[in-house]
Symmetry: C2
Subunit: 254 residues, 2 copies
């Protein structure tokens, strides 16, 4: 039995998120089906985290145990012939026995894209949130910087999943404008449920003057979800980077 | 009654091409429905050309007659509220009485995208043809140059639509590689049915050494479709530029 890790990439538009469900089609289910055929045994994978319906992953990591004898450099190609166009396996590596895609993850980066233009764009619509009112990305960047550090993030999470603590560390949170697209990149040691999207919604309030960047520490202190901004729609969100130690870390950064 | 022209943009993935059909959903039908509600009268539009199922348009032009009193700068916004995310009206202009989106069109440019990488990419899959074998884009560019000029293009068309003549003038045909994407841009005064996709397929044969760039003039001379390359899949193709005189030309180039 070997412990294997895969680097995958998926467009989430057609899926009800990462995690297996009773009724609806998810990325995990489609991947596990391709793995079962390819490895000729039932496979259950551990993903690096849940992503919601419509959320994308430019980088995603899964781990699993398998007896397969397929060489690691052949495995992605073999899997891709059995996967639809919107899910791709990019690399495979043999990981230490105690590796676990979620528990071994050191930190993650999400990127949220806002299409800030007067007119919609049909080609980027599945990957961005269309927001026609002009946004002040420099003011948003000041607000984003206020989230950096170790805080209780209860004020920007949705209740619904269990967690031991609501304290997380945000390592960086940057806002840049490239033409009509505003990109928000946020890296943390972990994200509470809807935390990335609630922080982005709060930065929309910051742009509109409903919240001042300097107020954010006090809002985090209060921990009241009703005082921060809305949870922005899922299609603008993508998991864009993952940090691990060792061989998996090397694979994820290639 | 005014003659109006619109600049539109659409992602063709969900449609059975531009032109209205009995059974299947098309871009024309969806646009005409939005126009009928917005202008409060039945509208029939003339499109600048047919695009096949799955083909995209970064630039597309339609013309129609209407009694609507809606100011032209309001018309795109009013229409977009009634259109799905994958079809967008970008501009509207009042055109001369004799303007006709297809008959007044001077020339058109199509761009074909080939994703030439070992591994698929889920995000560009709906907009490109995945071709894992390494391609020689410089050799393809030499082949593309051989199509430029006024020729009978019967050797690179599918039979199926009536046309007075199969002679067309290709003004430019360029091939460039940007990272793992090969982009082929071809401009002509008109395109026969499947002509752009059959020329691209022929350039794949050129890259593979099945056809030499120097043989292309003789292949056009012979006019035998079975001697040229395959018709490549539709999702890589997009209409990217249109040339008109006067106010419509100005609108299309903005």
């Amino acid at each position: 039995m070997r412990k294997l890790a895969l680097r995958i990439r998926y467009c989430g538009t057609a899926y009800h998120g990462w995690q297996r469900q009773e009724k609806d089609i998810t990325v995990q289910e489609v991947l596990e089906r391709a793995l079962a055929i390819t490895c000729e045994e039932p496979i259950r994978v551990v993903g690096c985290g849940r992503t919601d319906a419509g959320v994308h992953a430019e980088r995603y990591c899964v781990s699993f145990d398998s007896n397969t004898k397929i060489p690691l450099d052949r495995l992605p190609i073999a899997l891709n012939t059995r996967l639809p166009d919107d899910i791709v396996v990019e690399a495979a590596v043999e990981a230490p026995d105690d590796f676990n895609a979620i528990l071994s993850c050191i930190k993650k980066e999400y990127t949220y894209q806002i299409r800030n233009s007067r007119i919609r764009d049909p080609f980027t619509a599945p990957f961005s949130y269309f927001y026609p009112k002009p946004l002040d990305h420099e003011r948003m960047a000041r607000g984003a910087a206020a989230f950096v550090g170790t805080h209780d993030f209860s004020a920007v999470r949705s209740v619904g999943t269990q967690t031991k603590t609501t304290v997380r560390t945000v390592h960086h949170f940057e806002v840049e404008r490239v033409g009509e697209m505003i990109r928000l990149r946020v890296c943390a040691n972990g994200f509470l449920y809807n935390m990335a999207r609630a922080m982005v919604g709060t930065l929309l309030y910051v742009s509109e003057g409903k919240i001042a960047p300097e107020e954010i520490p006090a809002l985090l202190e209060k921990g009241n979800r009703r005082l921060t901004g809305p949870t922005v729609p899922p299609q603008g969100l993508a998991l864009t980077r993952l940090w691990y130690d060792g061989v998996v870390g090397q694979m994820m950064d290639n």
